[in-house]
């Protein structure tokens, strides 16, 4: 039986600021809900290819599994991506969670 395909998004860190960013249709956003989704293995390769076209803007680009919320937007599937999204749990005020984003 074929393994179930998990939806993916492309993420990386902003070259200048180091911030966590997500790829969204030709641009990079700090809002995970705007992340573009790959819903098939073909779309996955295409997404990574397009997200890798910004070597002087975003570094360390990779694909990661996501779950979808009720509105079909990306939410992290793994706790590592939760921390990347929210910031350090010991100092939430310094992460994005503390900045209302």
């Amino acid at each position: 039986m074929a393994k179930k395909f998990n939806p993916k998004m492309a993420t990386g860190n902003d070259l200048l600021e180091g911030d966590v960013v997500y790829f969204s249709d030709g641009r990079w956003t700090r809002v995970i809900g705007e992340a573009e989704l790959a819903l098939s293995p073909e779309a996955e390769a295409d997404l990574l290819g397009r997200a890798s076209q910004f070597p002087n803007q975003v570094v360390g680009v990779y694909l990661t599994d996501v779950k979808l919320d009720d509105a079909g937007r990306a939410v992290p599937a793994h706790f590592r991506e939760d921390f990347r999204m929210l910031g350090p749990s010991n100092r939430p005020e310094h992460g994005r969670a503390g900045q209302g984003a």
């Binding site: 860190n13 070259l15 200048l16 600021e17 180091g18 911030d19 966590v20 070597p55 002087n56 570094v59 360390g60 599937a77 793994h78 706790f79 590592r80 921390f83 990347r84 910031g87 350090p88 749990s89 010991n90 100092r91 310094h94 992460g95």
Partner: protein, 553 residues
Amino acid sequence: MYMYDDFDAAFVRGRVAEFRDQVARRLDGTLSEAEFLPIRLKNGLYLQLHAYMLRIAVPYGTLDSRKMRQLAYIADRWDKGYGHFTTRTNIQFNWPKLKDVPDILDALADVDMHAIQTSGNCIRNVTADHFAGAAADEIEDPRPTAELLRQWSTDHPEFAWLGRKFKIAVIASEHDRAVLKSHDIGVRIVRGVADEPGYEIFVGGGLGRTPMVAKQIRSFLPKAHLLPYLESILQVYNLQGRRDNKYKARIKILVHETGIDRFRELVETRFQEKLPQFNGVNQKILRRIEGSFVPPAFEAAQPMPPVLGAGLQSWIDTNVAAHRLDHYGIVTVSLKGIGETPGDASSDQMRLLADLAEEYAHDELRVSHEQNIVLPHVPRRHLPAIYDRLKAAGLATANIGLISDIIACPGMDYCALATARSIPVAQQIAERFHELGLEHEIGPMKIKISGCINACGHHHVGHIGILGLDRAGVENYQITLGGDGTETTVIGERAGPGFSYDEIVPAIERIVSAYLDVRTDPEETFIECFRRVGMTPFKEALYPPEEARSNAA
């Protein structure tokens, strides 16, 4: 305090200018990320989960008020108002912007500091006993030797691309406060049969995924032979160490696979060839360095105030160690406030520590590998004033060596390599035992927590070690017991299956309850008790049979 000479100052400024140019070329796209990555790492700049991280070297953990104030300034101007002191006695800033890093490095150079070789496969920051120069049991101050090694290893062309990172520590007493035997090379200052100065050399220690206790390679090395001998070790490692697998590339693997006797032969053969090439210049340099580490002008004995408050007395009993002079003390300021992040200090706290060092303590500060700050030379008559000011700043926690004085790496709250969080586990353990009021009842206890197998949190040598892993997408914590990071170094033994994030603090509580039950009397410490009774009672406490579990529920 060692002050940069013209050569040091020009070298560090040159590196800052070079890095400024490299950053500019990265930002305009001339340098690719693949080209820039090894360059930024050589200058201490990492990319972590949420931001860049700059790791700044604090050689042998020694700071003065000028350096500490500059760190506070950097925290306020370019970061988020705090820094994190590490188990390698460095400081890390968690939020610098790439374009600001050259300015930060210039600000460091203003106070004789840098971030060179705090990353990469090179010889890293040389550490020393954090009580150096103050401890009652030391033969001599180990820091001149550490400074000699720092100068020798900085930008040493032959050792710029080792198979893996390389860590050296120096101590000068029987009692090891610097985790010497967990280093690639451990140097212990000793005296020979005719009381001549020299070194005992250990090699091949390390933590990480394959923990090893360093082995003695030389029981006595004459003082003048240190650099040729260490170069011989490094050359054997550089030529014969593995480069095909990064997990087998540390010198500990080479020493283990070669066997210490054969490895010693290889080193000694190389040493005989190398010794004549050294003409003694380094010993002249060492004597000049020793001139920078003269003891402070200690004051004459003066009386302590006759009556001390209970809080002050408890803090003195717990946080102040014997100095080589009776009327002085060595103060360890805990960066482990209950519920705080181990090793973090705010810029205000850094400035207070700088003020206290300058006003009361001969202007010296140390960073300990246990992530606390030490005032090594404090006249005891000043302890009440120091305590009051620490207390007002939330820095008077009386817990040094107790269960809440926990080493914790940054873990998945910051680190890109982490597999689980460390900091909140440390915070919750400290809060739980504080709430129970059991810290002093439990007595000496070292809990050390790492958020991945690389073991920055030294979990292998914790009396209780905790290792955070990712098990099928969930944080899971393995417990080791009986580890020891002193002169009797032992790698802790794994207790059994791991615990979830929610289960780990109750699991630690069960270990501690078992200890309180089985110890012979309150004088028997946890580690002594573990050595006497072994793993069994702790295993039973950690993994009760099903029936006992359901009855307890």
